[in-house]
Symmetry: none
Subunit: 417 residues, 2 copies
Amino acid sequence: MNRSAEVICVGTELLLGEILNSNAQFLGQELARLGIPHFYQTVVGDNPTRIKRAIATACQRAQLLIFTGGLGPTPDDLTTETLADFFEVPLIEHPEILEDIARKFAQRQRTPSPANAKQALLPKSAEILPNPIGSAPGMIWQPRPELTILTFPGVPQEFHRMWQETAVPYLQAQGWVTAKIYNRVLRFWGVAESTLADQVAPLLALTNPTVAPYASHGEARLRISTRASSREIAEQVIAPIEQQIRQICGLNCFGADEDTLESVVGQLLKQKGQTLAIAESCTGGGLGHRITKVSGSSDYFLGGVISYANPVKESLLSVDPVVLNQAGAVSPVVAEQMALGVRSHLHSTWGVSITGIAGSEGGTAAKPVGLVYIGLADANSVHSFECRISPLGGRDWVRQMSTSFALDFLRRQLLDK
Amino acid sequence: MNRSAEVICVGTELLLGEILNSNAQFLGQELARLGIPHFYQTVVGDNPTRIKRAIATACQRAQLLIFTGGLGPTPDDLTTETLADFFEVPLIEHPEILEDIARKFAQRQRTPSPANAKQALLPKSAEILPNPIGSAPGMIWQPRPELTILTFPGVPQEFHRMWQETAVPYLQAQGWVTAKIYNRVLRFWGVAESTLADQVAPLLALTNPTVAPYASHGEARLRISTRASSREIAEQVIAPIEQQIRQICGLNCFGADEDTLESVVGQLLKQKGQTLAIAESCTGGGLGHRITKVSGSSDYFLGGVISYANPVKESLLSVDPVVLNQAGAVSPVVAEQMALGVRSHLHSTWGVSITGIAGSEGGTAAKPVGLVYIGLADANSVHSFECRISPLGGRDWVRQMSTSFALDFLRRQLLDK
């Protein structure tokens, strides 16, 4: 079988560069994971003639066409009707879609507009691909033998759920998924991608599993991949290599796959029955935001203080005004006092603080943008750590890296004790 | 002249979803800005047969083909040789490219590998498109009349510089840049895309400027576009339509283009010389994180309290324990007391609070996941607002929407006074 899939993303906003085409990346990863060959992706605007040309080209090359975008209620959402028109099949109204839309709107105390009616139209013989979140369903359609069309809305959350819950089982049932590629991604903090690649150099030459380094959001990663008929068989191939890597890399490896610094820190705190409070200056709440991304974080996270202005450092964190004045807000001693203060006011096991210069303004020669101090206090001790984050990544980057460093310092302390 | 451009991104790593195709987004924005029509983007892997198919398809539709990727030194970098092969033109070695590569390597105390030699080969009659940073130059080539090909490496920094420094002036000289397209994006909160489209329905039929609705991150947007020879002329076309839309939509329109809810709130606070303090429960710092995304937010943002655990609501926000116990943490009265508490402890003009059930756990029939209360206090009054956010989007969505609602409520209050 030499069948292949092709991706067609519909939307003038994509051509205009208003949004980044993350749906194409998601589909690329998913098709690779499922072992479905996929050789072309096309982006086309909200124009029926051009969408038809894209369909005509794709039909000649592939047997599975996956569309994203153009399923909304507005007149420039044209994917469904253009597909029907191309294959010369009439559109049929599905009352159950209208009911579903009305129900979803009612939950939010709203009523559908007349424009939503078109979302209930699908080509005759197409099946509904249910959307558990939004109003726009997709479809599964075989307009002719040996050609399957799947359509999805452009909204990533809706698309991802529809893909996982309905499309993947359908493709499995249709024999598209023959052998899956299984990946295990090991995640690292505190080591550069190139250093990591040097450390595990002999493993990078393996052919089964393969080991490949890459970097994402300042994190180095190693992807261990194998093609296998089941997860069990894949794990037998992957596990010994993972073990070798973990032995080589030690504490720099903080987790795998869905683990994040915040989830790993959360697990460690939970295991120890300990609690955490935080004090944030330049990150303005970003550390708390990350910690509370973890559902169930209330088991160990008590809260904290966003001490953006200096008087708040004094009033809510008991930072000494003399010290604040002499050493400056961005200093090791203030980081330590912030960590001690929040720990003592919130009665937590740990106090973690961040104070730094996020930019774009506020840097000086002595204290440049990207200079950040992390404070860490427990019942017995208080420490501070200096980070120098590249300002070239901009304000968001400095803030994001600061929260990662803070979580990583806490993680290493938790593993140390 | 009905000439158009087409984008072809070459790289198996794009098809596998290993990297996000930010080059396509960059080109989309640039071509739109320059007024060069552009109707299709194609992604194709490192395979000569398939690259040729993509070239053949694109040649039939467009007169300017822009390639990114596949210019490196490794055997799977095939863009240049495949183009030469497709148009049946021999490759010619350019010694000046080899010298440039050797010079760049020498600067980093390295020597080129034999593999770099292929980067000095260009089709006969192609011109070098210089790369000021990396080893891979691109080319400018007219393989036949009425067809221009530009190639760029996939590394974004190199591509962007080559585009700005050489390609844009070339396209200008060749008459591709006749009139630019100017966009104005109006941004809305508190109205669904479909309702908005209904409200401005007659404007959606305009041809100059065009008005198109779309949605992003729960926000509805209207894009007003016009093709004009200068920004001034474009503004004359866009401004009256923008004014009409703003009259129709009132306060639901919170800004345009780069404005965000947090930047608009910041501007209003700054104009009034007022300050803000926040108290966050379920969002865990996410509201503060958003407010402090704005560089210079220290002018009006004092800080806040992350009162994730109930005792913190009592100790740092003076929420009445009896009320907390009777009404529960997720209630209008606790939202109000949190807002009052943080305002009074931090001595700010405004206090804003969020308390809600973000999920995935913790929901009940009476207080389901997605139920969120926003509190808002100033010197004269305190209010609370109930939001019912769809839990289907997941914990991140509920938290993100909560911060948007909080910022929007504050914005409306600031505009009201």
